[in-house]
């Protein structure tokens, strides 16, 4: 059972995001990149499958150097194979481009299962999973929060609103968009990551710059206006609490 987990890095929202002078993109000199939270869950789910059914886990990253750290960390957690694609290429422009870049590499690997985060907060042109699946000719199910492997297929738990879930059977090979792994992503001690840096190898694969068509042009990018924001109730705890009680009373909620 060969499981592939393509991951990507996204801007960390802890930092203040700044718009580039062009006004249509983020200023990338500020802020730092972190592993997409949902991809972290996808990796965790893959590792759980490995622990349960002895699958091999390949982690795939494309993009800037921070990708290497992410790959070593994945190895320290238990990933078997680390691949970096297109290290010399500029950062893929959008999801479509990244999906094509991943697709070309993954096709060669002939995996049984591809686990990818169901979304990322920087995907204006949509999540990668469905596009990747289409490119690979595989079925896609997203918003998955549980995976059970069987022979030639798998059963997944697909999340629906209202706390409801659906049990869906999917033929393998398939692409699954992971919403949450069956347990929170595990901790990996830095010493283990350091050890992985010494022992693990990252396969470097070259690739041609992918076609980035499929996204809409951006005419303006901006931060939401503060004018639309809430009226702040000022003061210390006592004052604030009294203010809230007044509001409740006015609204007839008491």
């Amino acid at each position: 059972m060969n499981v592939v987990v393509p991951v990507k890095l996204v801007p960390d929202l802890v930092e203040e995001l700044e718009i580039a002078p062009s006004g249509v993109a983020l200023d990338t000199t500020f802020g730092c990149l972190v592993l997409n939270e949902f991809d972290e869950h996808a990796l965790e789910q893959a590792l759980l499958l490995k622990e349960r059914s002895g699958a091999t886990v390949t982690v795939l990253a494309a993009g800037p150097e921070a990708a290497e750290e992410v790959l070593y960390s994945a190895a320290a957690k238990g990933a078997d194979r680390l691949v970096r694609i297109g290290a010399d290429l500029p950062r893929p422009a959008n999801s479509h481009a990244l999906a094509r870049l991943f697709g070309a590499a993954i096709r060669e690997m002939a995996p049984d299962l591809v686990l990818i985060g169901v979304q990322a907060h920087d995907s204006l042109d949509g999540p990668i999973g469905p596009m990747l699946a289409e490119g690979l000719g595989m079925p896609y199910v997203g918003y998955v929060s549980g995976v059970t492997l069987a022979d030639g297929c798998c059963t997944v738990r697909k999340e629906y609103p209202g706390g409801m879930t659906a049990e869906v059977e999917v033929d393998l090979p398939a692409v699954l968009g992971i919403q949450a792994a069956e347990q929170p992503p595990r901790y990996v001690a830095i010493s283990k990551v350091r050890q992985a840096m010494k022992e693990a190898t990252i396969e470097q694969q070259t690739a041609a710059e992918p076609d980035a068509s499929g996204a809409a042009a951006v005419s303006r990018m901006y931060k939401p206006e503060t004018g639309q924001r809430a009226i702040m109730i000022e003061g210390d705890i006592e004052a604030v609490a009294s203010g809230l009680v007044d509001i409740f009373r006015e609204q007839g909620l008491l």
């Binding site: 802890v14 930092e15 203040e16 929170p184 901790y187 990996v188 001690a189 830095i190 010493s191």
Partner: protein
């Protein structure tokens, strides 16, 4: 409760019933509750009255709680000693005889201290878990009566590891706790022979009183008798026990300590020793021998050696050099070995299992595997069980255990931290802590705040606070600010206060600002050595870029790391804690201390400043210098200071630890602070006769105007203690202030935002 309950038990139950009723109980009620006749109740009450203050109000009997415990008064030091002794007994005794539990409970309540309540409760819990053993209680009752009234008793006795049951008639002289194990011995003269004999009470199967009284020997000097006793066997002669200790470090220990009065120690050529002694019952030594682990070899007698081998085999893996089995390389072994390789690590071999560590551990009672037990498990080769439990995360790395260990084992750093490292390597870490560690790695601080905002607290300062990267010049002092001091809103007050003090003194200083990473010490103590090294390396690189004469830090954890750990990584600078730095400048500070602070101040010695690094005086010098301040000490102070609970990852394990322990160390400490500083209003309470009321009222008014302050000198403490103040009833009068804040206030430096 029915027939068969011994009188002793019934009296105990009667006492409980009388204690637990507010309005008292009639003899009829008591009779039906105890299932005896009323006349029995009257007799029992008469008996009980000789021991406890039973009162009669009309036809109801009760015990006045105020009189109940009034006979023991202890001062603070005495309270502490008693407290420690009780803790030690509690830790050692896996089975408390019921009477011991009751006695300990009463004694613990005699210690006028909130923690004593917890102690009493834990005794109750320990007792509750064992059903009252009626047989045992009966045996004790008989022995006690024989002892008190000089009546010969007949006993049936089964020695350690023996199958035969002996019958004896003895004159009970006195009781003595076992020298090497947990039991209690009855020492008496055996009537069927000459001389004294010792009997382990636990192994006395049954006892009954005879009708004969005996003559008590004129002078029973216990110690002298014991000396002889260990070497005299009733009627059968002595048995020689010979042990060999190969390891030179152990040998040293064995050589220097008198374990048994009749021992002889002979040096061996290889640096080891051979220890021999004559004892009455070699099998009494088994637990003690096993405590030495694989480093003790039994040479004589053969059946003892076989017995030990058998026991070791049952535990699997750990054997002695003379045994037939070879060592198996289990995880316990390799972990043990890794500990031995640490500095002073071999000392773990000479652990006496004295339980001082577990006794003084603030969370010891809430740990499934407290320090002593961890070492025992290590020696028994079952350390995996420890890693399977999560009790290690209760350790707050306060160093109290290391401080008291008579064998000077580096328990905190050598055992606790290493165990946490293993836990982390296997991914076994509570989520709160995991988040803090991941954030430290990603953002250089455990709070998950943006590194770019690290110096935001200094934004509007005038004059401007130099940030090294921008100032681009050498400074005298590099101020290592720290995580919580930079980001946490409460701690920022202390940080700003210190900045103003530095400016008032005209000190040429600078900060690293966004280049500063977490010092990493708490992360290191929480088991993330790799993370610590990463942070230290980054800080080292930042330091190397600039020129300064010394580092001053407001954080004891940073102080510890920078002084003791960073040099091991090649990052070495002179470092001082801010209290040391300021104490040196008292002559410059004093003229500026214009404002009087009318306050009673108790200083909390931070673990990493005080106990770990020996800095006790300077903070006190600063506090004493503030006009109007009355400095008081809490019951636990200096080396005995009680940890606030934030070390070793504790700051990020609050929920986890609170759920296990049921009480927070910080709340415990607030109770002490309240008492010491008078914030509990105790000085205002006693009723006053009319004549003195006006004077008293004036005194009360003066007292009420005084601030009651808990002074701290570590960034973890202010938020922790203020949270605790909210939780402890009646603590609202207590203020928590950093020394820097107090100094700034009395220097009249600007309060609030600059």
């Amino acid at each position: 409760m029915s027939a068969g309950m011994s009188r002793a038990l019934r009296l105990q139950r009667l006492e409980e019933l009388l204690l637990t009723s507010c309005d008292g109980r009639t003899s009829q009620e008591l009779a039906s509750m105890l299932d005896v006749h009323r006349t029995t109740v009257w007799r029992d009450i008469a008996e009980l009255s000789s021991q406890v203050p039973v009162q009669q109000v009309g036809d109801r009997y009760l015990i006045d709680r105020r009189d109940y415990l009034s006979n023991v008064r202890l001062n603070k030091g005495e309270s502490l000693m008693l407290y420690l002794a009780l803790r030690r007994m509690l830790r050692r005794g896996s089975k408390l005889p019921p009477m011991m539990a009751r006695a300990m409970e009463k004694l613990s309540l005699a210690i006028r201290h909130p923690s004593s309540v917890q102690l009493a409760e834990s005794i109750q819990i320990a007792q509750r878990e064992q059903p009252t053993d009626v047989e045992r209680a009966k045996v004790w009752e008989v022995l006690l009566q024989g002892w008190m009234e000089w009546i010969t008793v007949r006993i049936r006795y089964q020695g350690y590891g023996r199958t035969v049951v002996e019958e004896h008639e003895i004159e009970p002289y006195f009781f003595e706790p076992a020298l090497l194990t947990e039991g209690v011995y009855l020492v008496g003269r055996c009537r069927q022979g000459t001389g004294l004999r010792m009997f382990e009470v636990e192994r006395i199967l049954s006892a009954s009183l005879t009708t004969r009284r005996f003559e008590r020997p004129e002078d029973i000097v216990v110690d002298q008798m014991l000396k002889h006793l260990w070497g005299i066997l009733y009627g059968e002669g002595m048995i020689e026990v010979r042990l060999r200790f190969h390891d030179p470090v152990l040998a040293e220990r064995v050589r220097k300590t008198v374990w048994l009065p009749t021992q002889e120690v002979r040096d061996l050529a290889d640096g080891g020793v051979e220890w021999s002694a004559q004892v009455s019952d070699p099998f009494e030594l088994v637990p003690w021998i096993r405590g030495w682990g694989p480093d003790c070899e039994v040479l004589e007698p053969p059946d003892l050696s076989q017995s030990i081998t058998q026991i070791e085999r049952e535990y699997g893996g750990v054997t002695m050099t003379t045994a037939l089995h070879t060592r198996t390389a289990s995880f316990s072994q390799s972990f043990y070995q890794s500990l031995l390789d640490m500095l002073d690590g071999e000392r773990i071999r000479i652990c006496l299992q004295c339980s001082s560590c577990s006794g003084i551990c603030p969370h010891g009672l809430a740990m499934e595997y407290h320090p002593r037990k961890m070492i025992a498990a290590l020696r028994a080769g079952v350390f995996d069980a420890v890693l399977g439990s999560d009790s290690i995360w209760m350790c707050v790395s306060c160093y109290a255990c290391t401080e008291v260990c008579p064998a000077k084992i580096p328990v905190t750093v050598g055992l606790m931290t290493r165990t946490k490292e293993e836990m982390l390597l296997s991914g076994n870490v509570p989520p709160e802590l995991q988040e803090a560690l991941e954030r430290s790695q990603r953002y250089g601080n455990p709070l998950g705040e943006s590194p770019r905002k690290r110096a935001d607290w200094a934004k509007d300062f005038k004059p401007e606070i130099p940030i090294m990267a921008r100032a681009n010049r050498p400074v005298d002092v590099l101020w290592f600010v720290g995580d919580y001091a930079s980001y946490h809103p409460r701690v920022q007050h202390s940080t700003r206060a210190f900045a103003r003090i530095l400016q008032a003194l005209g000190v040429d200083f600078g900060i690293l600002g966004p280049e500063e990473q977490s010092d990493g010490d708490s992360q290191r103590m929480a088991g993330e050595r790799g993370l610590f090294e990463m942070l230290a390396t980054k800080n080292g690189q930042a330091f190397a870029k600039y020129r300064f004469s010394e580092i001053v830090t407001t954080d004891p954890h940073a102080y510890n790391a920078l002084s003791n750990e960073y040099p091991k990584l090649g990052v070495s600078y002179p470092v001082r804690h801010y209290t040391q730095f300021l104490a040196e400048r008292l002559p410059d500070l004093k003229p500026q201390m214009k404002q009087e602070l009318s306050a009673t101040v108790a200083f909390h010695d931070p673990c990493y400043l005080g106990r770990v690094n020996g800095v006790f005086e300077e903070p006190r010098q600063l506090l004493r210098a503030i006009p109007g301040v009355e400095l008081v000490e809490m019951s636990h102070y200096r080396e005995n200071s009680l940890c606030c609970g934030a070390g070793g990852g504790g700051m990020w394990l609050d929920g986890f630890q609170w759920e296990k322990a049921g009480v927070r160390l910080s709340e415990w400490r607030i109770g002490e602070a309240m008492r010491a500083s008078g914030a509990d209003g105790a000085s205002l309470r006693p009723p006053v006769p009319a004549k003195k009321r006006r004077a008293k009222a004036a005194q009360v008014a003066r007292e009420q105007e005084r601030d009651r302050i808990l002074a701290v000198a570590c960034p973890y403490e202010a938020p922790r203690f203020e949270d605790a103040v909210k939780m402890v009833p009646g603590a609202d009068k207590l203020l928590v202030k950093d020394i820097a804040e107090l100094l700034a206030d009395c220097m009249g430096l600007q309060r609030g935002e600059p």
